[in-house]
């Protein structure tokens, strides 16, 4: 792809470089699919997606495509997209082992080479909605959805961002960075992460013709385990949301007067 943004190129390199190590550390923990986020809260508990049978689903930042395989098993028609070829190799291998097949697409979620209105659901679990610029991905999500279709994705929270202590790689209680202007974080390890203030997310959804359906502020159960997060993070997340799930729906038509 010629139009890859600078941060998309950097994140592609980051994920290609980290792919095997990531798989080694987390693959067994997330193998089942149908569970959200760093504490793998079951979809059956959160009920974000509902019945997916018969839906055309796009997973943005699918990695080894654990979610897409689970959605396929639940009757959906998934397409897995990832910006890293190395991550998609793991997806192909896992699909072969499971004896299943569905399209796997090597592309940035900021510029998806698929037709408008192709999906009933676009979903993402700490994938491209964190590692791509929401000012580009949210309009893409809106473009790819059919009218009445919906999108849901997990990511971090503004609170997690403003309390992040890079030196300790942990979240404390001190507000260490500004909330206003929140957008991009160049991580010391080489990735570029994105986050927006609450009001800015809502402004972007509305501008893209997406209605806000839900914001689930995830609270892990006591003693929740994770291969992604420490016990200290889990204790923090019992008090304040460290991850959140947005759910938005593409409006059947743009209602008059909703833009301002």
């Amino acid at each position: 792809m010629s139009g890859l943004s600078d941060h998309a190129r950097r994140n592609r390199e980051f994920w290609d470089r980290r792919s095997d190590e990531y798989h080694e550390r987390n693959a067994a923990f997330i193998a089942g699919g149908m569970a959200w986020g760093v504490w793998q809260i079951p979809e059956a508990e959160l009920n974000v997606l509902g019945d997916v049978s018969g839906l055309d689903v796009l997973e943005l930042g699918c990695g080894a495509a654990e979610w897409s395989r689970a959605l396929l098993a639940a009757g959906a028609r998934p397409v897995g997209l990832d910006n890293s070829a190395k991550r998609l190799e793991w997806a192909r291998r896992a699909n072969e082992e499971a004896g299943v097949g569905f399209p796997l697409l090597h592309a940035s979620a900021e510029d998806v080479p698929l037709a408008d209105g192709s999906f009933d659901l676009v979903m993402c679990d700490w994938g491209a909605m964190t590692f791509a610029d929401p000012y580009l991905t949210v309009p893409e999500v809106a473009r790819l959805l059919r009218p009445g279709g919906f999108a849901a994705w997990t990511g971090g929270t503004p609170w997690a961002w403003v309390t992040y202590d890079e030196g300790r790689d942990a979240h404390g209680t001190e507000l260490l960075s500004d909330y206003f202007g929140l957008h991009r974080w160049d991580d010391a390890e080489g990735s570029v992460d994105f986050m927006l203030p609450y009001g800015e997310w809502i402004r972007l959804f509305r501008r893209s013709g997406l209605a806000v359906e839900d914001l689930i502020e995830v609270r892990p159960p006591e003693g929740a385990r994770s291969t992604y997060r420490t016990a200290e993070d889990a204790a923090w997340a019992r008090r304040w949301p460290l991850e959140q799930i947005w759910k938005v729906r593409k409006e059947a038509r743009v209602s008059a007067g909703s833009e301002h």
Partner: protein, 255 residues
């Protein structure tokens, strides 16, 4: 008026005292102001745009927790037909006095915003500026707002941000660290205050959706570079408010 809840009675006592100490005079200044402005940093509506695109001319407006009535006065001057509702007689008395001084008359109703004695679907806009928006239980006043609105009507309310509440303990001003737990946040009693209600972003969205509202906007208000800490409301400094949101304005449309 129906008997007040203990919370509403406490808040009425607080606001009777605050009106004598502050809002009686502040209301006079606000009534004299031509421009609509929002919150402790006095951000002009032309910059915030919380009411942008809402037809005010001829609109039936109800202000829930109107205090001295200056927001209703601003809207009346733009052609709206406001009704001001408040639970504190002293503040309504100030509002009546200012109506006479400004020759601007609109109904003022002594009532609890959680149980407004007016018919369903009688308003085009519900507005609450630090009224019901923090002094009433959202699980009671949001259903009332939904009931009072006509289909397509708007709800605009200003309240404290979640973050400033999370950073507030018994002493003012807000700290630069999280001290309150977010999960379960709802009812707050500060040592010198009444009873306030603050819920998280996810809870607001769920509650608004449940009562038939589409969320149209969330304006998080930032203190401008030249802002000073507010003369009366010292719960947050201007320095804090430049980095993090102390206040937010929600806008929703009833389906």
């Amino acid at each position: 008026m129906a008997e007040l809840s203990p919370e509403a009675a406490r808040n009425r006592d607080l606001w009777t005292q605050t009106n004598a100490e502050y809002t009686h005079e502040q209301g006079r200044r606000a009534w004299a102001q031509e421009e609509i402005s929002w919150g402790i940093w006095s951000l002009p509506e032309r910059e915030v745009g919380a009411l942008a695109g809402i037809e005010l001319e001829g609109a039936d407006v109800i202000e829930l927790g109107c205090g001295t009535g200056y927001v209703s006065a601003w809207l009346a001057r733009r052609g709206a037909r406001p009704v001001g509702v408040d639970v504190t007689p002293a503040q309504l008395e100030t509002a009546r006095q200012l109506q006479l001084e400004h020759g601007l008359d609109f109904p003022l109703l002594e009532a609890d915003a959680q149980a407004v004695p007016l018919p369903d679907a009688s308003f085009d806009l519900v507005v609450s500026e630090y009224g019901a928006s923090i002094w009433c239980d959202p699980y009671r006043w949001i259903p009332e707002a939904a009931r009072l609105l006509r289909p397509g009507g708007r709800l605009v309310f200003l309240c404290n941000s979640t973050l400033v509440i999370l950073c507030s303990d018994d002493e003012e001003p807000a700290l630069e660290r999280l001290v309150q737990t977010q999960f379960g946040m709802h009812r707050f009693e500060w040592p010198q205050g009444g009873v306030e209600y603050h819920i998280s972003h996810g809870s607001w969205i769920a509650l608004l959706r449940e009562h038939g509202f589409e969320v149209e906007a969330l304006h998080e208000l930032q203190a401008p570079a030249d802002a000073s800490t507010h003369e009366h409301y010292g719960y947050v400094t201007a320095d804090w408010g430049r980095r993090w949101p102390a206040e937010e304005l929600w806008r929703a449309r009833k389906r």
